[in-house]
Amino acid sequence: MKIFIRITVFVAFVLSLAFTAQAAEIKIGVTEALTGPVAKYGVPIKNGFVLAADEINAAGGIKGNKIVLVIEDEQAKKEEAINVFKKFIFQDKVLAIFGPTLSNSAFASDPIANKEKIVVFGTSNTAEGITDIGPYVFRNSVAEADILPIVTKVATKKLGLKKVAIIYGNDDSMTKSTYEIFLRSIKAEKLEVVDTETFAKGDIDFSAQLTKIKSLNPDAVFCGALVEEASNIILQARKLGIPNKIRFIGGNGFNSAKLIEIGGAAAEGSISGSPWFLDDPSKINQTFVKAYTKKYGMAPDQFAAQAYDALYIMAEGIKAISLSGNVEKDRTTLRDALAKVKNFKGVGGLFSFNESRDAEQKGRVLYIKNGKFAIYAE
């Protein structure tokens, strides 16, 4: 009897294998910085992809075909990104590629994808000129250049700003670009800059810069910093006696739950801008936040949200084509279908690609209220 049950189970197992093997697998390459200092962005991005892929597969895949993510670490190095891209294209024969994490690496690796006619989809590359690489390059990361002028305008009006100070990291391409965009928009609003201070990556002490800013008494401080420096700057400012009514206004680096976690009461009132925010009450976002937190034991950040949306956007594109089995051909048809994605409803709101395959998404001005991100103005 026991033997009989065993045989039945075995046969069922073999049969199930045979059936699943019939459905095709859709291989998608994901390459992000999973080790090293940039991993704090790369890992949430990977997590976002994995969560979305699991959800899609659990719901039956795309027309019955399962998504298989091939995940590789590119260590935030150009050379590694190039190697991984070549492996994806020629060895793994993936349908499309997500990544790499930094714009720096994207400028090195994306031309390869474009030349081999395979879609490369960046979720965290914000530098100008990424999609100019070629028609196969897509991204859903909203550039700071689109959002920060709105943030500046809203803050100036609501707070009645006249004179402001700026502090930024001058040895990092991202924080430097935040500074340049802020400076442009500050000039457009005709504000007076009373002081500009800089710091270097990895600095922990900002007391000298902040003491100077305090003595010049600005109405607000614009801040181009990644989250670890940003939260420390705000904390030290409050310790030095810069009151909470002098707001800190920041770029992408501010869009992280870490700012609240590290900064606490000091970060209250800080202003930033982003299409997505953690406490967005929309149902789709709440479901995402809950699922992500359950799976990874921490709240998602903007990078995880953008990756999560990106995989669903990619799925929209794949849904619109019929896979021929010839991967070179499918790659090209996917490109055309993906470029047509319009009004996709994701966790970051309505999303469309514009004609240059960049994100067309409404940015929102946010501020920290009672330890949560809230809408300062639409």
Partner: protein, 293 residues
Amino acid sequence: MFLQQFANALVLGSVYALFALGFTLIFGVLEVITLAHGAVFMIGAFAGLAVVTKFNAGLIPAILVGMMASGILGWLIDLLAIRPLRKRKFHHLAPMIATIGCATFVISISQGVFGAEIYRFPFDFMPATSYNFWAMQLTLLQIIIVGVALALMLIIIFLLNRTKWGKAVRAVAETPRTAALLGIPVERVFQLTSFSASALGGAAGVLTGINFNAIHTFMGGPIMHRGIAVIILGGMGDIRGAVVGGLILGFAEIMSVAYLSSDFRDAISFGLLFIILLVRPAGIFGSNIERKG
């Protein structure tokens, strides 16, 4: 504003000095620039954080546990990486490179365990209220940091100059071979030095972690660069040099931001280092006599 900037510089300088103390001690005795000191510093911060979050420990236990953890790590690094090279009479370069390997190893493992994110001590761990002295605003913790750095320096100087153990350490630092002939357990002195110097690094890690709220696996990197500058400035292997050098670097960084421009901070502070070395190539307290071992 000057008084506040003076206070800022004092705190920053004390952190640099505290870090450099252990760094210079190892160099003085073992003649090895241990580039794992940044990783040791980071482990101290994480160990302190762990006892605070898990067991609700206070400041003193946090510092002690941080020192213990870092001390043990430093001792292990000596035992597993430096000692085998010492036995084969490799000096200077080979052990230094071995410590780079140790640092990479420790940092990678901790990234696997803690991830790449940043942590901080709980908000209510230390009171955030500032005290006013004349025109200076200082938190209790900043005063503690200055005090601890000063106290540890005095303790180390006392131990080195007034105890039998200190005498043994100084003898080994002078020449290990003669010290061995005189019956001093050289190997034990090396290990004890590695342990206590790394424990100092751990104390620096815990205090830095509490004061600057940025504990992450890569926190040892930037302070390593400063630490190397400090011990060169003060004189390699000199305890007073580490403290004075730390304070000088702290003041140079803060004052260049305060009265010139933050854009030139590193150029000015490291330019100063360059000038001091031109005048005194062995550093402020260094002697030009090299040990031939």
